[in-house]
Amino acid sequence: MSWIQLFFYVFAVLAVIMALMVVTRRRAVHSAIFLILTFLCFAATYVIMDAELLAAIQVLVYAGGVVGLIIFVIMLVGAEEREVKQAHGQWLIAAFVALLLVVEVAFVVVGTLWNPTGALASKMVPAGGNTEALGVVLYTTYLFPFEVASILLLAAMIGAIVLAKHKLER
């Protein structure tokens, strides 16, 4: 087992533990802090999987932007639930769906652990690096979806402003 492989498994196990902490913590602020740690572990695994640009985007956009926004709103709303009961009435449905997912995970584990095929390519870094190659693909073949994504972001921004405004002036 090489060092890179060892680091992948270390960061994967850390990410799973941190994700479990996100779901089980009582206070939302603690969950948000653990969510940042989860996203940093994800970024580490992206680097190991030869996606350096996406690792940087993961740190900047998710760990910096999205979780920062979530923490801002938690502080702004300031409503920590003091109740003892944390899981709500549909826990039976949640348990059923979780059981289905556990069966699915077990199926995949049994299917892949005994005959592992399709190992990750050792090196697929093109000339100019990951960022340049990704930019060429993004701005030539996928130019139209890129523009659609920009329109989507604009619509989300306007929608968020309209929703969060205190009162609409008429």
């Binding site: 999987m49 979530i70 549909q90 995970v105 892949t112 399709g118 972001l153």
Partner: protein, 100 residues
């Protein structure tokens, strides 16, 4: 190197954790964070498959998913603020205005 199946298992476990969190927690912030976890698990699977196949299309798709997730977080937080202004709680059980 790392087998692709292990990456898929990692992604599936994160997705399952996200589903359970989104379905079983009462705090609306933790529900939204679980949805972010699910979106990220899809990114892990896409990047792993992209690295195994050897082209960059999976990474481009992951960039679009990150875009959609950022927009979803912004709109979701705005909805939470608007709901809190009306109901004065972040408990999902009390948001039953549209329940039949």
């Amino acid at each position: 190197m790392i087998p692709l199946g292990h990456v898929i298992i990692f992604s599936l476990i994160i997705f399952a954790i996200g589903v359970v969190g989104a379905l079983s927690r009462r705090n609306v912030f933790i529900v939204l964070m679980s949805i972010e976890l699910m979106l990220n698990s899809v990114n892990i699977a896409l990047i792993g498959i992209s690295s195994a196949v050897g082209n960059l299309v999976g990474q481009v798709l992951a960039i679009f998913i990150i875009t959609v997730a950022a927009g979803e977080a912004a709109v979701g937080m705005a909805i939470v603020v608007a709901l809190y202004r009306n109901r004065f709680t972040v408990n999902v059980d009390s948001f039953n205005l549209m329940k039949w």
